[in-house]
């Protein structure tokens, strides 16, 4: 049995390098953002009714595009008809690896900074704590390097040196970019300390911390009684990063379309081998119309769970003639068509504007063709 256990261990750990799949996280982000918005709207007692843009309806009638379509009776206005205009697959330009900016201003001094605790992030056996430094002075300054010392003060007044020095070098970390932070008054930089969480319990709580800023002195941060700095496991601080700024959501893809959110209305079950009609609503929550010019294209797929969507994906242009813009504070619903997988089972679907961080997706059940349905209708 020990031999089997050993072989099993080896086999489970013998793995291909995990494959980076740019779509995967995009879909996750889009779906969680949408859920949050829905939760907030519900909490505020709002109704999220789809608003169909007047301009879109006018154009839609102009083009007479509704003839071949059935508008669901429940639909109050109308949808923009699907247009069979294939688009090329978008190839993203290579992402520049984020590089630290050059220092632009005079060095920040301890006197011009105030500190606070930022987010706590989980990791593998690690907890990270962001410590935020805000330029509270009246002039822009640059925070370079890292904290020279980090001292904790317990509620009883006793002190502990948590760290001296920081991990040198310009590098990206999971939680942001490390490098000079050019701060206008009111803007913030951060550094990240990490602690192990591999213990059965115990924290060392600090009600104040002092952050050494080079030779200019310390930034003293008094923490509220309810929110001390917990050094988990009492094991001290494992590592301290240099100063930097957090990643922003736009580091990945920058496009004027990114303000839009997409919501798909896909039937819960679809029949295998049929053409599925569904809709995608693009909502513009901003006060400015988003022009669909140049006409954006999208990629869509339904593919069985456990297969790459790549080969099942198809790319088309939006019907920009019928809907030249997404008006401010409004939404436009587009009809979509896509072939369902040939075999029954669980499938996933995805829809994304190409070259933008606007996407939606979900799961759909594919029902198998019944005995009568498989009989050829042509005879």
């Amino acid at each position: 049995v020990n031999d089997i256990e050993q072989a099993l261990r080896q086999m489970l750990h013998d793995q291909p390098p995990p494959r980076a799949d740019p779509e995967l996280l995009e879909v996750v982000y889009a779906r969680t953002r949408r859920r949050r918005r829905a939760t907030r709207a519900a909490a505020a007692g709002c109704t999220a009714g789809a608003v169909i843009a007047a301009a879109a309806i006018t154009l839609l009638l102009h083009h007479g595009g509704v003839t071949s379509r059935t508008v669901p009776a429940a639909s109050p206005g109308g949808t923009v008809p699907w247009t069979d205009q294939a688009a090329p697959v978008y190839t993203p330009p290579p992402l520049p690896s984020p590089t630290a900016p050059a220092a632009e201003f005079a060095a920040c001094t301890a006197a011009s900074l105030t500190g606070s605790l930022g987010d706590i992030g989980p990791g593998a056996g690690q907890v990270t704590q962001n410590i935020v430094l805000t330029n509270s002075g009246t002039a822009a300054c640059t925070l370079s390097g890292g904290p020279s010392t980090l001292t904790g003060v317990r509620a009883d007044g006793s002190q502990a040196t948590l760290a001296t020095g920081f991990n040198a070098g310009t590098q990206t970390q999971d939680y942001g970019l490390i490098g000079p932070a050019n701060l206008q008054p009111g803007q913030s930089a951060q550094f990240v300390i990490s602690m192990t969480n591999m213990c059965s319990g115990g924290t060392d709580d600090y009600s104040a911390v002092s952050i050494g800023i080079g030779t200019s002195g310390d930034v003293d941060v008094t923490l509220p009684a309810a929110g001390p700095l917990d050094v988990i496991c009492s094991g001290g601080v494992n590592s301290v990063s240099g100063f930097g700024v957090p990643f922003t959501a736009t580091d990945q893809v920058s496009s004027p379309l990114n303000v839009l959110t997409a919501t798909a209305a896909m039937p819960a079950t679809v029949a295998a081998g049929t053409t599925v009609t569904y809709t995608v609503t693009l909502q513009n929550p901003t006060g400015q119309a988003v022009a669909l010019s140049p006409c954006p294209s999208y990629t869509q797929y339904i593919s069985p769970v456990g297969t790459r969507p790549g080969s099942a994906a198809s790319q088309y242009y939006l019907n920009c003639q019928a809907a030249p813009e997404i008006p401010a504070g409004s939404s436009v619903t587009f009809d979509m068509q896509i072939p369902a997988p040939a075999a029954a089972g669980v499938a996933k679907y995805g829809w994304a504007l190409q070259g933008a961080a606007v996407s939606t997706g979900g799961a759909v059940s594919i029902t198998g063709p019944s005995a009568t349905a498989t009989a050829s209708p042509s005879s």
Binding site: L8, D14, P16, R19, L24, V28, Y29, R35, P122
Partner: protein, 162 residues
């Protein structure tokens, strides 16, 4: 539930993606299914991030959802049709032709999950039970059944090669 939390969740997802994909691969033996599992589990995690980031171990939660989802997907698919899953593109594990690989692939995902938690994650029986939301007894019996299947498969293949 605010923008900061959304960004914290996104940072978490970005940072933990490779490890989660590896765990999914150990669970399923397929990079494609692993990607699906991770995606589904991350969406569910993001939806309750504000609670998870405070009180629980978020990564443990993601892995628990992945384990449960792999079992329920397998049940759904078994009802339709059982086919040998097509191999992933690009990577042939050293063990693909090994009898142990075939035996592992043939296990119901519940049993496979127990083995992955025990021999990939190196959890104790109690920890595995907590992760799966079942009793230690169930972990023991699932594990024993799975090991018996593997042993039998290896014995058979050893005899065939003699």
């Amino acid at each position: 539930v605010n923008r900061t939390q959304q960004l914290a969740f996104e940072a978490f997802a970005r940072a933990r993606l490779p490890a989660l994909l590896r765990f999914g691969y150990a669970l399923t033996g397929s990079q494609d299914t692993a990607a699906d599992l991770v995606q589904e589990a991350l969406v569910r995690t993001g939806a309750r991030w504000s609670r998870l980031a405070r009180s629980e171990d978020p990564e443990g939660y993601v892995r628990r959802v992945m384990t449960n989802t792999s079992v329920s997907w397998w049940r759904q698919r078994r009802r339709e049709r059982l086919t040998a899953s097509p191999p992933d593109r690009g990577y042939e594990p050293r063990y693909r032709d090994h009898a142990l690989w075939a035996a592992l692939s043939s296990l119901p995902p519940g049993q496979r999950a127990v083995l992955v938690l025990r021999y990939y994650e190196d959890l104790t029986e109690a920890q595995a039970a907590a992760r799966l939301g079942c009793t230690i007894g169930t972990v023991k019996s699932q594990s024993a059944r799975a090991m018996a299947t593997l042993r039998k498969a290896l014995d058979t293949s050893a005899q065939e090669t003699k």
